[in-house]
């Protein structure tokens, strides 16, 4: 119910943005910027770059509000998709990927951390946070690693296959299994 109300509120914000209300953009930004920024920083590994990515993403929403269509998903999904896409673009363009991997290599020698270890206070999204953490914890490590490499490290499938030394088909099948399990664990699409 909370999520439904949030979704309705987001839809209203988008309508106001379409009407040219900058206050609605500010409200949307303040609502989602912390997670968007966390996501961008996780992908780029660079705080400044992450700030730029999030600014660009929200400005794109302002500039082209008609791009969002409510029948295709929630505002939240749309926003995070845009942020993630831009973050991955930046990573691939600006070699931040390499810098982040180097930093990760250092961290890995101390204490390997999986996706599920990124515990945080999820502000007003605590319910979703706990849900996704549980969902991620419920899939096999080999599948979780694929999702980690693709989503959080911005690696294309072929590169994942190369790095893991497994056939591309294996990467695809593991990703499919993982995403199906995550979808089921998250309520089978009832999150909107």
């Amino acid at each position: 119910m909370v999520i439904e109300l949030d979704s309705a509120r987001d839809q209203a914000l988008i309508r106001r943005i379409r009407a040219g209300e900058r206050a609605a953009l500010a409200e949307l930004f303040e609502r989602y910027a912390p997670i968007a920024l966390g996501l961008a920083r996780r992908v780029t590994g660079d705080a400044g770059l992450a700030e730029d990515v999030v600014q660009e993403a929200f400005l794109a929403v302002w500039e082209r509000p008609a791009t969002y269509r409510s029948d295709l998903g929630t505002v939240r999904t749309y926003l995070f998709s845009v942020v993630h896409h831009r973050a991955v673009d930046r990573v691939r363009r600006e070699s931040a990927h390499r810098r982040r991997l180097e930093r990760e290599a250092t961290l890995d020698t101390a204490a390997p951390r999986g996706v599920e270890d990124e515990v945080a206070d999820a502000l007003d999204s605590r319910q979703q946070h706990e849900q996704i953490q549980a969902a991620l914890g419920g899939i096999p490590e080999e599948q979780r690693r694929i999702i980690e490499m693709m989503y959080f490290r911005g690696m294309p499938q072929s590169k994942v296959a190369d790095e893991l030394g497994v056939p591309l088909g294996t990467v695809k099948s593991r990703a499919r299994l993982a995403m199906r399990k995550l979808h089921e664990a998250l309520g089978g699409g009832d999150r909107a």
Binding site: F29, L37, G38, Y78, F152
Partner: protein, 250 residues
């Protein structure tokens, strides 16, 4: 040829990689081709893609939230104040493409808008019959400066011609078209600027659903387009009065 279910399984793999922003270029082309072939009305395609985008977006909830810098909101609002809004659906050719799902659907929606409804993803073989194919039409629509010449609809028959001013390549797209009598064909004519002699631009026939997706070869600078019914194979000059005529802005 893959069956529909097999295609949806293939599409799911591609959609997952797309949702995770991990699609390789070749797979991107495969995904676009599959989506174009199924058309924007394919509920299974939409469901699969939406489902995986929702799941991918949920992964964002696993990150550590980060407080924006103190003036981040002001910075965004200042940028917004200097950025005029575009309130229409983004053109698929624009370099600042919307992301994944929305990008592809924007292309599909643009094509639907152009043809006035119906499935997309048809190319044409040498006979002039429309056959399911890849995304040739969507590729054309994705190019810059594509214009639409609309013939007035008659009895539910709609025909549009997509073209790029100054260039010869175009597409004939239509819906609700009746079959021409006998073995006859429809023929598109283009009138070059400064002349009075029509030039043949291609013959076409609707498929079993009345849809037309046919490449056209237009005169370089056209002022008028017309359609007539011609004998099999078409004619070098119209042999019957035009059934559709429209003026064109070159």
């Amino acid at each position: 040829m893959m069956r529909r279910n097999d295609e949806h399984e293939r599409l799911e793999d591609l959609a997952i990689a797309d949702a995770l922003d991990a699609l390789d270029d070749e797979d991107r082309r495969d995904l676009d081709a599959l989506l174009a072939a199924h058309g924007p009305a394919c509920a299974d395609c939409a469901s699969i893609r939406t489902r995986h985008f929702e799941t991918a977006a949920a992964l964002a909830d696993s990150v550590v939230p980060v407080a924006p810098s103190p003036h981040a909101t002001e910075r965004l609002l200042a940028a917004a104040a200097a950025t005029p809004q575009v309130t229409t659906m983004p053109a698929p050719s624009e370099s600042r493409r919307p992301h994944g799902l929305w990008r592809t659907l924007a292309v599909a929606a643009a094509v639907v808008l152009l043809v006035g409804g119906g499935a997309i993803g048809y190319a044409v073989n040498g006979t002039g019959r429309s056959n399911p194919s890849t995304s040739a039409l969507t590729d054309f629509v994705s190019q810059p400066n594509v214009r639409i010449a609309q013939f007035p609809a008659t009895n539910g028959q709609r025909v549009n011609v997509l073209y790029r001013p100054g260039l010869r390549d175009g597409w004939i797209v239509g819906t609700g078209m009746a079959q021409p009598p006998g073995n006859h064909v429809y023929e598109l004519w283009s009138l070059p600027a400064g002349t009075t002699r029509m030039q043949p631009a291609g013959t076409f026939q609707p498929d079993d659903h009345g849809a037309v997706r046919q490449r056209a070869k237009l005169a370089a600078r056209i002022t008028t387009l017309a359609v007539s019914v011609e004998p099999p194979g078409g004619s070098p000059q119209p042999t019957t009065p035009p059934i559709m005529v429209t003026k064109v802005k070159s």
